[in-house]
């Protein structure tokens, strides 16, 4: 196995210039016209060539749901797995092959409902995976049931009288699972998506990216306040490491710490620029990121997007992987014979 850095630089070896075409398969895309997935696919395909990892060392793994189809459209290695299990399958790939760049594409039902356990454990272990969660707050492929991110009271085919469930906040969940990189972006905001993807690709360990994705068939408009031109400018709170958190058309609003110690949205003119909170994605303590995650429970008004958290912590079994690979290379017939003979043995001589 070649010892190659997967994120960013290709260990210094020159690569032919890659283009979007190198990452586009010959399969016809089959999402509904107007689906947010198209925009995400196009951005991913345009960012991948920049990363310096050739298609044959890139792997996409998905679960079940509309997002699951994603793998068929990128010309890399890929597995379209089973419902919820993509993080586990991808863990097997990433751990066995540290020379690969492994991406998981999942949805809100796939990652947070049936596969919740695998997601949190992949994040906890800090397996080197880029996990893209397409959150459309609905079950699309099964034709419109509420999902674990649908709002309470949501009326769907399976909840004609409104759902009783309290939804997950995916960013808070990932932070709770001790994810080392947590970000959020919005499908059609291609520049922002690309920026977040680049940061995710450069991260060592698990990178969790929630992408607000509009399902125009079963849940149209769920993200309108942060997605549609004309309103999003007022509502996207773009988090940038080391910068005061300001937003609004003219940057007229911001986030500051209130008298009760919690975060609140303020008018910059009233509090002054110095009162604004400076975003720190690299704080080892996740509490600030957690507060930001809860600044907006749902994307109905001002909502933070961007990188909430990006910290360094040991990547799962990185060192061990090298040792094992080396040990495996050395293991030979003689060593095996010695292993079989270990313990108390006795010999019966030929008569």
């Amino acid at each position: 196995m070649p010892d190659v850095k997967v994120n960013g630089a290709n260990g210094g070896s020159p690569l032919p210039t890659l283009t979007k075409k190198d990452f586009s398969s010959d399969q016809e895309t089959r999402w509904c016209p107007g689906c947010g997935d198209y925009a995400i696919l196009a951005t991913v395909q345009s960012v991948l060539p920049e990363l310096g990892v050739p298609p044959e060392r890139t792997v996409f793994v998905s679960g079940i749901g509309c997002a699951g189809r994603f793998v068929y459209y990128v010309d890399t290695y890929g597995i379209h797995g089973i419902h919820g299990r993509a993080p586990a399958i991808a863990t097997g790939i990433a751990v066995s092959r540290p020379d690969l760049s492994v991406w998981v594409v999942t949805g809100d039902g796939d990652a947070l409902s049936i596969g919740g356990n695998h997601l949190i454990h992949a994040l906890r272990r800090n397996v080197p995976l880029r996990i893209l969660l397409f959150n459309n707050q609905i079950y699309g492929l099964t034709k419109g049931q509420y999902s674990p991110t649908s709002e309470q009271g949501k009326i769907t085919k399976s909840t004609p009288f409104g759902s009783q469930d309290h939804p997950f906040n995916p960013i808070a969940l990932a932070l709770g699972a001790e994810a080392s990189f947590v970000a959020r972006t919005v499908d059609v905001d291609r520049g922002h998506v690309a920026e977040v993807l680049r940061a995710a690709a450069a991260h060592r360990g698990s990178a969790f990216v929630e992408i607000y994705q509009n399902c125009n068939v079963f849940n149209d408009g769920a993200f309108e306040p942060v997605r549609e031109k004309g309103v999003r400018e007022a509502n996207q709170i773009r988090l940038e490491h080391g910068k005061p958190i300001r937003f609004g058309r003219e940057g007229e609003r911001g986030v500051a710490r209130g008298a009760d110690g919690g975060l609140e949205i303020v008018e910059v003119a009233e509090v002054g620029e110095d009162a604004l909170l400076v975003h720190d994605a690299k704080r080892p303590d996740p509490s600030l990121a957690f507060e930001l995650a809860h600044l907006a429970e749902r994307p109905t008004g001002p909502t933070p997007i961007g990188v909430f958290r990006a910290v360094e912590r040991p990547v799962y079994a990185e060192e061990l992987g090298r040792e094992l690979a080396e040990a495996h290379r050395r293991a030979d017939a003689e060593q095996l014979a010695e292993l079989l003979r270990s313990g108390d043995t006795w010999t019966v001589p030929a008569a």
Partner: protein, 611 residues
Amino acid sequence: MTKDVKERERVVVRFAGDSGDGMQLVGSRFTDATAVLGNDLATLPDFPAEIRAPAGTLAGVSAFQIHFASRDILTPGDRPNVLVAMNPAALKANLGTLEKGGMLIVNEDSFGDNNLKKAGYERNPLEDGSLDDYQLVRVPMTTLTVRATEGIDGLMSKDAQRCKNLFALGLLSWMYGRPTDVSEEWIERKFAAKPAIKAANLAAFRAGYNFGETAELLGVHYEVKAAPAEPGTYRNVNGTTATALGLIAASVRSGLPLFLSSYPITPASELLHELSRHRRFGVRTMQAEDEIAAASIALGASFGGQLGVTSTSGPGLDLKAETIGLAVALELPLVIVDVQRAGPSTGMPTKTEQADLLMAMYGRHGESPLPVVAASTPAQCFEAAIEAVRIAVRYRTPVILLTDTFLANSSEPWRLPEVSELPEIDPAFATEHNTEGGFWPYKRDERLARPWAIPGTPGLQHRIGGLEKQDLTGNISYDPENHERMTRLRAAKVAKVAEDAPPIHVDRVEGAEVLVLGWGSTYGAIAAAVRRVRRGGGKVDQAHLHLLNPLPRDLGELVRSYRKVIVPELNMGQLVKVVRAEYLVDADSVTKVRGLPFFTAELEEAIRERL
């Protein structure tokens, strides 16, 4: 004083005590000494279900049985000739197994009122004549152990008492002339870091040995000569270790790094523990978050080009079914080791059963055939594991390897194979285009196996998934004809595995019209019972299956050639259903579902009744 020595052809000894008494340790030490002496042997540990049942209660009794002989033997023995009972509960729980007239050695120090009450004895059985049918030997083991360890620097009295199991080991070692150096060296190694404990254990062991030699209580000791065996180097091995070694050997032979991903479950956890120790061979073990992840991670490792293995027991196999189905569709190598235990549901986790056969064969939705291999004896787990890997790699398919609690825990001597004689396993990774200007992941070879192209191979990028695939290209397809073709291709591929299987070995006698057909861990009991039936003049043949799916190609002809086929199984009759359905043969079923292996005597009777 010299005592009489009597020769015995075979002996069954059962050590029983509280789970805190260290009976498994005594049993395995006695076993090692027995193995080194050259006796043939078979062992069976019997663990309590609870980890820490209250001391002194029946629920907390732990036992270890060993059968050793100067000829070849096949089972751990039905009834012990000697029972060592360390406390009243152990006596109560195990007395029923002791043969009438057998020797009963008890630690009389533990027969105080409190322990008697905990075991549910109203009167002391050592005093009330209820043990008159046995040769009762009362030994104050605790007292003698404490006395022997007096004066050892830094030894707590609690620790001194705990050495009484080594006293028992010493005593039995004397009774059967076991070599003492094997046990003493073990004690030296094991407690090298704790000088006081080491000294105490050595003292207790020697005190037990000397007690046998000098005490009036025991008039004779016994000799069991070495059993004739094929020339070679041997070691004693249980099914867990043999399975682990088989997987490692397959990894070395194939050049594929071994990646075991498992979730803790009794009794399969032992395999996880065993393989976790072998980093020297590049073995990676991963304790997954659940059974589903365990299978999925292993499958991911296979996609990455490693030898993905997941191990479990019944309830875990239920959970893995979906991932195994995906592996059937992806057509990737994956080995699933199912150490069967008594079900349904949680059932009896520490007890054996063979009731997962039909689940292994059919327990997935849709048409999803896969090869099933079953191990027949503890040492045979080694070959079975290699065979499972060979099939998985050659045919690009998940393979279920069935063992069970009995195989996992029992041990027997194993003649070590030459590494050069182990099967070759060639991963034969795809490295080049296999069609005009491209790569078709489902273009098959002559065995209908598809190419295994691993990430990192330039130009062979491909996407595969659980959705039905177009023949050859692997693209998604809902075409009715294609689905039927792919379904039949997958089945035909699995059927081809039978072409590699050697002819079924039949142990024949002249004029037999009855065949006893078994599979899995019942091999020893069936073979022993068949021998006894023959000794009584009965004419019966025996065959044992190692490949359960596909069934060997000569099985139909074989079962049709007998007037009667008897199928003993530790379930409600699973293989028998398959045999009846496949070959329209009126096979007769012998079943047992008590969480215990077959006893030779009961099988002998069952066969005799059906002759």
